[in-house]
Assembly symmetry: C2
């Protein structure tokens, strides 16, 4: 959690939240989260592009079309994926139950689920949980923080971020929370994110800002290269800040979009650092690529490569593995111009190793975050990706976690 | 090593080999390997498709064009990759030195290197090693085994395989050795393989048989999804078996090709089981895919997915992760027809989980090898991939191995 961001989801005006335990997690921890916007909110959402999607994603995709959303209900501990018609019915029941408690229509509620795949939801417990959460709805920071805790699965820390920005003299607040520690690949590397803002903004511009923010942040994180069946990122805008409504690509829009991107980027970095077993993160920047797609592919190839992730874990400036990943991912490059930097230290230039201070570079890698830059030498395109190290702990978590 | 395959590379008639230590490996272990075919051999070779290739690959690609090869010289402990013009000169010097000792022309010698990237070869030591190896050349099983030991890097076991086949009344022998434990991805998942045979076969048919064999074996193994800068697979045919020469796609060719494929498949399985930190391997078969390429992509996506590899390590029948990998790799599938089997036990059918005996399936996974079958339900194409589990030991090897 970024400093001062506790309870981020209730920071913007116009939102109440709650997070309770309803018995989905064996640990007894909070597993049912509810956010409510009494005045209704403009909404936008992005979903996993996995071909297999959870029942919640199917329903939320449908409900977000309406453009006006009054609440979001989320359960952790069970993904409600690969659960057939019962799963669809259960996701709808979650919306209907929440809607009844907050005085809205079923289609005005979005739903998300996260947890184990293939198990039917114990829907009676979930319904009781929704009732309990509705009873605890509050605009307090504690309530917002409980919401953040209730969407966690294998996360060890809450991810929360807040940013304020002045728009036409009004203070606009954007607050968000995210969960995700594994099964994270580019293109909705999100698992579940919920962002609330009091900005007044049209549905179209909110969607545009969200797509841009997620594209530059959550979609650029890879922990293990795969997206889950449940990835969902939701933004709700209450309009309570009473700024002149943002309806086109104007300076006001750009100020809002930059702040939204900052929140998403902050959440993404928090996820990278709390990824399963991760002890540090890194950013891969690819420059001088022949196309945008190739720049993105090469950056992802480096960030996804287990041997690079292990080298980062060991604090080893192993440029050989970086070069190997770039060379084998199918992008165009000039072997005579290929170069690689770790932070500002060149370790490989014009296709040849460079002498550098290994101890110094190793200590840079051992910090919380460093940047690997690879110059392909064939074009003008640049892209990036976030990754994290691979530890023994990752294996322990994922080999010993049983279905 | 398969039983009775010790010294595989000198098993076919017409080959001498040696493996010595020349000081490239700090451990003092054997690191210089030489095979000699006094009568000359028809040769075919396949190389990495990584865009960055070692100096040895550049030279060997050129020399194999001649079609007639008298020797192969290989060093381990240093990849001679990213070493510029000195690297090219050194690779040529290796060929020239070996050629002089075995009485051949420089272009009749192939070269391969494996080990650390970006360090210039200590060429004086390598030359002394070639001289020493030439002095120890022998057709004995011990000499063949020393060759196999001298190409190893992080391998913990020698990989050797032998197959004999009768062709037109003559016994033909095919023997091979391979090294490779990490940096192994499809499309030359080979690192270094050397196969010798006494078959009489034209260069064209040898190339065809080798491409087919490697395509169905070495190219189907993924340990970490990436190919190295040095992958090389070489086959040499001495003709000493005196079978009527194989010059077209006839029954004799098919018998030879099947035996060659069996040798490559055997070596591939040995590599999977000796992959860095691996304790077991698995085969992923994808059926009912919309195209051959999609079947291959889906199989590789499952075999490469760290969460699947961790589940295999933990003996966990975690079909959710398998389905997730297939769903996120971009292939067409029918969510209503999707099915998954572990060996012969169906664990997922028609898009829904199936009740199965978890303890029994877990014990199947814990064996040396099991098969995961995924039915996509949209077409008629099938493909497969080999993978291995991901252990804490993999991380230890690759985080603590320093450049």
């Amino acid at each position: 959690m970024s400093k001062g961001s506790k309870g981020a989801v209730t920071r913007a005006a116009g939102f109440l939240a709650a997070g309770v335990a309803c018995g989905l997690k064996r640990s007894g921890k909070r597993d049912l989260a509810l956010v409510h916007c009494p005045g209704g909110a403009t909404a936008a959402a992005m979903f996993t592009t996995n071909r297999i999607v959870s029942a919640a994603v199917e329903i939320a995709r449908r409900h977000v079309q309406s453009g006006r959303i009054c609440g979001v209900v989320i359960n952790s501990g069970n993904a409600n994926a690969c659960t057939g018609q019962k799963g669809i019915n259960d996701a709808l029941t979650m919306c209907r139950t929440a809607a009844r408690h907050i005085g809205a229509d079923t289609h005005e509620v979005l739903v998300a689920s996260t947890g184990i795949i293939g198990h039917p939801l114990p829907i009676a417990r979930v319904k009781a949980g929704i009732a309990a959460a509705a009873g605890e709805l509050s605009a307090s920071a504690a309530a917002g923080h409980n919401f953040a805790r209730a969407i966690m699965t294998t996360d060890t820390r809450c991810k929360e971020a807040v940013k304020t920005v002045r728009i036409s003299g009004k203070q606009v607040t954007i607050g968000g929370t995210a969960k995700g520690a594994g099964m994270i690949g580019p293109n909705m590397a999100t698992t579940i994110s919920v962002i609330t803002t009091d900005a007044a903004i049209s549905a179209g511009m909110l969607k545009k800002a969200m797509a841009a923010a997620v594209g530059e942040s959550l979609n650029r994180l890879t922990v293990d290269g795969h997206q889950s069946t449940n990835d969902t990122a939701i933004v709700l805008a209450s309009g309570a800040a009473e700024n002149p409504i943002i309806e086109r690509d104007c300076p006001r829009y750009r100020a809002f979009a930059a702040a939204l991107k900052a929140v998403c980027d902050d959440l993404t970095r928090q996820m990278a650092l709390d990824a399963e077993g991760a002890t540090r993160m890194f950013k891969v920047v690819v420059t001088a690529a022949a196309s945008q797609a190739e720049a993105a592919r090469a950056a992802r190839a480096v960030a996804d490569y287990d041997l690079v992730k292990c080298a980062v874990h060991g604090g080893d400036p192993n440029w050989g593995r970086i070069i190997c990943a770039v060379g084998s991912c199918g992008v165009r490059l000039d072997p005579q111009k290929l170069a690689c930097k770790i932070n500002n230290t060149t370790v490989f230039s014009k296709g040849r190793p460079i002498k550098f201070d290994r101890a110094k570079v190793s200590s840079m890698i051992r910090r919380q975050e460093h940047t690997i830059t690879v110059h392909l030498g064939v074009g003008t395109h640049t892209d990036f990706c976030y990754g994290c190290d691979l530890s023994r702990e990752y294996v322990t978590i994922n080999a010993d976690y049983h279905t």
